[in-house]
Structures are given as C-alpha cells and as structure tokens.
Symmetry: C2
Subunit: 345 residues, 2 copies
C-alpha cells in the first residue's frame, strides 16, 4: 500500500509540490493510500458563493447544474468552483480506514461523519447525481471521497437531523470566529445577516455584545429578514443592497448615531461588497470577511483608498471547537432551531 | 464647477454606485470637480506584483511593457492591472486644487507629493512614457492624475531623494503594520524578506521582537539575501522557494526547533504562497498578507484544509502614520538607507 503525505500532496497532479487546495488538478481515483479515509458519500453541501454562481450560470436549470458540477469534477478531481475558488463540504459513511491511521483516530467503519475541510481540496468521484435541493445548496449523490490525515471531521450527532447538521457545520467557522471577535458593548454589523451563517453570527454576536451592545442584522429580502426577526437574533433588522457602499454607509450612520460599527462580519454570497464593509465600519474597527466572494485586492486597496485604518481578517473556516460551538447553538436556541429545521432539514 | 463625492464615486463609469477601486472603468478626463486635486505626474511606482506580471507578459520587452500600460489606461481610466487587481502610486506636482478644498488641506499649488492611495483607483492620463526603470518598478511619464477628497498623500521630504521616497512610500503600510503586530520575544518569519517592503518589515520586526525574539528573513536569490544581510535587518537569513509549502515548512521547523513562527509576514510578488505561510506559522499564530498576489479563497480554505487556527490579516495599505514611520526608518538606519539608495534612488 502506498504511503501518503498528511496534507495530501501525494494526490496533487498539477502543479507538483502544491497542496491539494490551491492545486489545479488532483487524483480522484479511489485506491486508498495508507493514511487516507475512504468515505461513501451521501450529500454534498455546496458553498453558497459557489452554488449561487453555478445556478446563475445554469439559469437555474437543474440538468445544467448537474452538468456543470460533473464537469468541475472531471477537470479538477474535486468540487472546486473555478470562478469562486470555493467548495463546500459533505456527509457520508466511513467505508475504509488506512492502516497507518488505525488506533490514531476515534473513527470506525460505518460511522457517519461530516467533513470539515473544504470540497475544494477533497478527492471526489461522483457516480450519479440523485437530487439537487436548489434552495439550500444541497446535492444528494452516489459517489466516494477521500479524507486526508490532516483533514478534520465531525461525527454526526444523534439529536440533530442530518441535513440540518450538514447545513450548520458547513458554516461552523463563522459563529465560532464571531465569538472570538465581539466584546461587550460592541456595535456589530452582520452583512448578509439573515442567511445561514449570518443568523448564527448574529446569535453569537448578541450573546457577546450583551445588553450594552447593539447587533444590526443587514439582509436583503424581507422573507429572510422576517426569519431572522422570528429567531430574535439581533437588535435591529435592516434591508440593504450590500453592493451599494455609500447608500449602506448612510443607513448605518443613521442607525449608530454616526458612530459606525466596531465589528463588521460579512456573510454574503455575492461579489463586490468589500467597500460596503469598509465604509460601514469605524476607522479602527475590525472586519471579518467570511464571504468566499471576497476579493483580497479590493479589500486591501479599497480600505487604503479611503484612508481607513480598519483591520480586515480572512475568514478561516476552521477554529478550535467550531463544530461543537455551532451545534450547541442549534441545541440552545429553540427559535433558531425551528427556523433552521424549516429551511434546511 | 461640478460637485464631487469625497470617495470619487462621481468618476465611476461602470458599474454605477461602485467605488473607484473596484470599478471596471472610471472617468479620466482632467476637468476638475470642486473637491479634487489635479496632479502633474512625474513618476509612477507600479506595484511589484503588478509589474512582475506585466514584465512577464511582455517577455521583458520595454516597448511591450509600455503598450500594456497604455492599454490598461485606455480600458480602465486608471492603472489597475486586470490580472492582479493592484496598482501602485505616483509622485508629481500639485497643479490645481478644487475650491471646495481650499483652507481645508495643507497643500498648495507647486507642492511635490506622493499619493498614498493606490493607482488602482486614481484617474490617470498618460501622454507619454518617458522611461521605464525595469528593475525598480518605476516609470517616468508625462501625464496628469486626480486625487479625491478622501485620498491620502505625503509631501515629499527635503532630506530623502525623490525616487527613494517614492519606493519606500509605496510599501509604507508594511513596516507600520509590522510594528502593530510583533511583540517582544516573538519568532517572526518574513517571506520575501529581502525585497523592498520585506527589508523594512524585517527591520521593524527586529526592533519589536527584541533580543528575546528571532527574525527570519526568507528570500529567494543570494543577491537579495546578501543585501539584507548587509543591512543587518534579521537574525537568520534563509533562501527558500515560497511556492513550495512543505519544503519551506521543514526548513522553518529546523530553524525554530519545531516551534514555527508566531508572526509570518508575506511580502512576495508572486502567486501561490498562501499555504507556505500557513504551514510555517504556529497554529494560533498570525499571518499578515501584504502581497497583492494573495488569493482570499486559497488562504481561507487552505488554512481550514490543514486544520490550522491561524489568524490571517488582509494587508491594508494604510495605517495611521505609515508614511512617517517608513521615512523615519530611512533616516534611522544608515545601512538600510545606503542599500535603498543603491537600489532605488
Ligand atoms: N470561510 C469559510 O470557510 C466559509 C464556509 C462556508 C461558507 N462561506 C461563505 O459564507 C457566505 C455565506 O454563506 P451562507 O451559507 O450563510 O449563505 P446564504 O445562506 O446563502 O446567505 C447569504 C446571504 O447574503 C444575502 N445577500 C445576497 N446578496 C445580498 C445583497 N446584495 N445585499 C445584502 N445581502 C445580500 C442573502 O440575502 P437573501 O436571503 O435576502 O437573499 C443571504 O441571506 C458565502 O459567501 C459562503 O461562500 C465561507
Ligand atoms: N498592501 C499594500 O498596500 C501593498 C502596497 C505595495 C506593495 N504591496 C505588495 O507587497 C509585495 C512586495 O512588494 P515589494 O515592493 O516589496 O516587492 P519586491 O521588492 O519586488 O520584493 C518581492 C520579493 O519577493 C521575493 N520572491 C519572489 N519570488 C519568490 C519565491 N518563489 N520564493 C521566495 N521569495 C520570492 C523576491 O526575491 P528576489 O529578490 O530574490 O527575487 C523579492 O525580494 C508585492 O506583492 C506587492 O504587490 C502591497
């Protein structure tokens, strides 16, 4: 049996020496290396920025969506959207565990897990696409995937429906990072705050900012904002178009008596919202870009361009305990759980 | 006279409502709005990531470089590289000041300034390209530019040669941000540490990390590393290929007794170095991406992919006092000043 690198570089076809995430093409044959885990895949949760792009390219047509997805796999050996660069995650059942891992991990054949590493680096073979759930970015398939030795995962809990866990775990980094950033008394703006990751961030921000703080949930459609309101996750709900920086700045100025946000968290699934985040935030505030549609240069040069000293953080999808923190919110908040079950379960 | 928006949205042709930096095309006619400053341009300092890309597209041919530059201006009304998204900055002489700014700013007609906002948002007209200094990313032109009301600038000091000031001010954000991040005792890795911004970062990091800390200057060519060594800006000098994450990780492991870096600063001018930064940094360390060739998704999903909890910061080109801090280094360090005069003056 062949020996693999913990990071999966042994699967990289092009360019050599790269890691699987930035690689253009990886090997998705399902012959196991000694330190890999083989997963029988049940459902993919496509990253929202990626799925939004694919849906629009396919004009919403399900057969076209399938075709685009299969082409991505054929080209790259992994489900990495070439436009957004992002992936998503999956749930499935452990089929085989490489001998080098035995005794080292708490998994056994037959366990049902969610991978917590991006599909943009996961070797994936799709044999058939069984169902596309367009509104919640989920796709049921027949197929196999590989988890590398350094790859993280969560065993699915018994007390939360599988598809709900999948949806929540896909964005687990967001509320966990919010918990680290928000301090008591902060004014927190969540752009895309009525979406899947947005509501979790609002909830966590409200807990951290406390009664002396203020959480502004900025969404787009009334439908989404009504959901957020029903879940009672914020102090203020406001409808904005996040691609209109100056308009949004004026609105946030009004809502904060000219003070602007201490912390802004960006959870949208569309491009060109960097400057909105910058202009809505205090000069010495913090912006957390969770959105995978964020452009590095637009953020860096845009902030400089308006002389803003704001600190901008790249949304690392992982932070210690992120899966636990996120599932705990689903157990803690009856209102949020109800809405997530309606929307995603 | 037409009234302008402080951020320059009045010059945006496409898409409407956007700010000038992310905009695809801006108006570069030189008829002044009431809150604009007209600059008679002398020299452009093209951002290193951008100029590296242009040079390679032109196969190093000066006439082709000129052609590419003029095409960019014709298409966008600003010098924003379509591949890297980045710009650079300029020096020139104040030719006219809009009446709405009079009395509000400390500039007068005839002052020589460096703009501290990116060329990627600056309306620019090039009438003629006079000289291309290929090795230091500088281009002398005949032409005009506009500075918006919110745009920042520095009056050129008397005691530092102009081209040297231009080179140093182009990267002023980097050492100033380093000063904010590095704490006494830190192990600091500077990737691309022997380049223009890299040496300034090393210098500032060494001052902050102090005798209990360790600054590793990781460059590529021996020539650059020799310069850095001569300037005495680091504790360790090492030659690496920043596009080889696993190799570099092994080297840094060796140099830090397996501890890895507390703070990594990325100052290269080429793509695909995100994972090198992640793997070389402690799990709970900080990475500062100053490189304009950084990909947001490669950083975010790459760190997640290897389960690293590292905090990743987008290199905001501006921070309070950055021009002063950077020029001060040029006054303080005789060794560094000498080398920068050799290389850039
Ligand atoms: N960093 C990571 O590791 C990681 C992991 C997973 C996901 N993500 C990213 O996180 C982002 C959010 O994911 P998600 O699953 O929470 O997506 P989601 O549920 O689809 O939420 C996106 C939200 O953005 C809102 N929105 C879209 N366009 C807008 C506009 N012009 N103005 C204001 N709001 C707008 C939508 O509002 P409506 O509901 O009204 O349409 C929606 O609520 C995505 O970009 C995704 O790629 C990152
Ligand atoms: N955030 C901002 O506002 C802002 C402003 C200005 C510039 N920047 C960015 O900062 C970066 C550095 O700018 P600069 O002016 O300092 O550039 P520079 O002087 O050209 O330095 C780049 C350095 O990267 C090194 N390098 C290139 N390829 C490498 C590799 N494969 N492995 C290791 N090192 C490698 C080069 O080494 P050699 O010398 O041996 O070739 C060089 O010393 C650029 O990406 C630029 O776009 C950002």
């Amino acid at each position: 049996m062949k020996k693999g690198c913990p990071y999966g570089t042994h699967r990289v076809i092009e360019p050599k020496g790269a890691l699987p995430q930035p690689a253009k093409k990886i090997d998705n044959t399902m012959e196991l290396y000694d330190n890999e885990i083989l997963i029988d895949v049940q459902t993919l949760n496509i990253d929202s920025a990626s799925f939004t792009q694919i849906k629009s390219q396919a004009d919403g047509d399900v057969e076209k969506i399938k075709e685009i997805m299969l082409n991505i796999i054929a080209e790259r050996g992994k489900h990495q959207n070439p436009v957004t660069g992002s992936g998503g995650m999956l749930i499935g059942t452990i089929e085989k565990i490489g001998p080098a891992l035995e005794g080292k991990i708490d998994l056994k054949v037959g366990d049902k897990i969610a991978t917590l590493v991006s599909l943009s680096l996961t070797p994936l073979r799709i044999d058939e696409i069984l169902a596309v759930r367009k509104n919640i970015d989920q796709v049921d398939i027949k197929g196999k995937a590989i988890l590398f030795e350094s790859g993280i995962y969560a065993v699915l809990p018994d007390d939360i429906p599988e598809n709900l866990a999948l949806s929540a775990l896909d964005v687990a980094g967001a509320p966990a990072q919010t918990a680290k950033l928000v301090k008591p008394g902060d004014t927190v703006l969540i752009i895309g705050g009525a979406g899947k990751s947005g509501m979790l961030c609002c909830y966590e921000a409200k807990r951290r900012a406390g009664v002396t703080g203020k959480v502004i949930c900025a969404g787009r459609s009334q439908k989404s904002l009504d959901n957020a309101r029903r879940a009672n996750v914020a102090d203020i709900y406001v409808s904005i178009d996040a691609t209109k920086p100056v308009e949004v700045m004026e609105k946030i100025k009004e809502l904060t008596n000219g003070e602007m946000a201490d912390v802004t968290i960006n959870n949208v699934n569309i491009p060109d919202t960097e400057m909105t985040s910058v202009l809505a935030t205090k000069n010495d505030g913090v912006i957390y870009f969770f959105s995978m549609a964020t452009s590095f240069t637009k953020a860096a040069l845009g902030a400089e361009g308006v002389g803003s000293d704001v600190a901008m953080i790249v949304g690392n999808g992982y932070t210690r305990g992120h899966a636990e923190i996120t599932l705990q919110i689903m157990r803690e908040s009856k209102e949020l759980r109800e809405i997530y079950e309606e929307l995603y379960a």
